[in-house]
């Protein structure tokens, strides 16, 4: 039993690596994507729109396979043992598309009067965006973002498709060895605890922004 828990913890570390690195890259990457999606220039908007449609319209598991194998078949280059890097690229590019749509909804929900007041007061567009609009957007998009981050915790299980020994893969292997479903249900409890932490984090953040 202790041995199993040790293995599952190792898998959890890998899952948390995928989780953390995905957020580190996807959260900032989503901002230019959202702005591109709202661009008045159709040559910017159309490709960004296509990218979002593809990311949302095809299975993430397929995107992971594509990112891992396409360089080899097209360019003869292999990720080799850098499975984590390949997985993080696929996850970050996928999640950036979802976050971008959340950002866009948030930005467009801010009344036009906020932009106008900032402009008349002489703020540059960048100052208006980052000091006036973004803080209000953050508050509005927290619930939707929490959903996305919780989904990400569970989606990390898809990383096993290219052989990454994340939590669920480790649990499945243990189940197969022991002819028992216990390990995968224990892994389920691990995911539940991780998501409890995530949702607790968002609850507190929302509470901190309740002052206005």
């Amino acid at each position: 039993m202790w041995k199993l828990l040790g293995q599952l913890l190792e898998g959890t570390v890998v899952s948390l690596e995928v989780f953390t690195l995905t957020l580190v890259f996807a959260i900032p990457l989503a901002l230019p994507v959202a702005l591109g999606r709202m661009s008045r220039n159709p040559f910017v908007r159309a490709p960004v729109n296509l990218y979002i449609q593809v990311m949302r319209g095809t299975p993430l598991i397929l995107q992971i396979i594509f990112v891992y194998f396409a360089p080899y078949y097209v360019l003869g280059l292999s990720w080799g043992e850098h499975r984590l890097a390949a997985v993080v690229v696929a996850f970050a590019v996928n999640y950036a598309a979802y976050f971008a749509e959340i950002y866009r909804g948030g930005i467009q929900s801010i009344p036009k009067g906020q932009w106008e007041a900032a402009k008349v007061l002489g703020f540059t567009r960048a100052d208006a965006f980052f000091r006036v609009i973004v803080p209000q957007v953050v508050k509005r998009i927290l619930p939707a973002s929490a959903n996305e981050v919780i989904t990400l915790v569970k989606d990390t299980a898809l990383a096993q498709v290219v052989g990454l020994a994340e939590l669920f893969r480790v649990a499945q292997n243990a189940s197969a060895r022991q002819f028992s479903t216990t390990p995968i249900f224990v892994a389920g409890a691990f995911y539940f605890v991780m998501n409890w932490v995530v949702s607790e984090f968002f609850v507190r953040w929302e509470r901190r922004l309740e002052y206005y």
Binding site: P111, G113, Q114, E116, A117, A118, K119, V120, L121, G122, F123, D127, R131, V132, P135, Q136, K139, Y211, Y212
Partner: protein
């Protein structure tokens, strides 16, 4: 010298002409009331002066700086310089809800004028005191009444030291007793010879506080003159019809 000069201004939304060849000036130290029916173009006129709407034709000069000349807009740096000469107070306040009252009044001073925060706080607290809001500096806008919000918005605009303050129906979103608070503040500013342009439906206020009044209907200036005279003895038939609707609320 004229603080704001508008010459041959025209603006349309698609086929619909909102402002048609409008010219007028705002003299230093005067209060100009702009009155007229809803949809007459008076708010659009104010929004054109503050560059929230762009015009197709005409010239706008603010404090000697050309904002737009014959329909051609100045470069961004000049635009910003021109816009800093004026302050705008909106109908629905547009305070920044995530900032305290104090920060609402200091933020542009620090970011735009480059004032240090201590000096900006001093200016802001002085203005809030003048607006009767001395105790509200650390409150958030969400905790204020409409009348208080509008007075914060006036302080926010004044903090940048504009040459002219423009009001776009500043009391239309307020209850009658809150309207009074805001009008008193504008009245006090008028006594200090602050140059102001007020788009309003408060005829008694326009008559008593404004030096000049201008009636706009269907995008043109119908009549213009000393406020009291225009409102009490309008010469133009359309002015008379408009003012009649105000003095006699429609009955059964």
């Amino acid at each position: 010298m004229d603080v704001v000069q508008v010459e041959h201004l025209s603006k349309s939304f698609g086929e619909h002409t909102v402002i048609s060849d409008v010219s007028f000036s705002v003299h230093r130290g005067e209060v100009l009331a702009i009155i007229g029916p809803s949809g007459s173009g008076k708010s659009t006129l104010l929004r054109a002066i503050t560059h929230l709407e762009t015009v197709e034709r005409g010239t706008i000069t603010i404090g000697g700086i050309r904002l737009v000349h014959d329909g051609v807009y100045a470069d961004p740096a000049t635009l910003r310089r021109a816009l800093l000469q004026l302050g705008l107070v909106f109908q629905d306040f547009n305070l920044f809800p995530h900032f305290t009252v104090l920060r609402n009044v200091t933020e542009a001073q620090v970011r735009v004028l480059g004032r240090d925060r201590a000096r900006a706080d001093e200016v802001a607290l002085g203005l809030l005191d003048k607006m009767g809001l001395a105790g509200k500096a650390s409150a958030y806008p969400g905790a204020l009444s409409g009348g208080q919000k509008q007075r914060v918005a006036i302080a926010r605009a004044l903090a940048l030291g504009p040459q002219v303050l423009l009001f776009d129906e500043p009391t239309s979103a307020l209850d009658p007793e809150l309207t009074h608070q805001v009008l008193e503040v504008i009245r006090a500013l008028a006594a200090e010879k602050m140059t102001m342009v007020v788009v309003t439906h408060e005829m008694a206020f326009a008559r008593d506080v404004a030096d000049r009044a201008m009636l706009i209907d269907a995008g043109v200036i119908v009549e213009e003159g000393p406020a009291r005279e225009l409102i009490e003895n309008p010469r133009n038939e359309r002015t008379r019809a408009f003012l009649k609707r105000f003095s006699q609320p429609r009955g059964p």
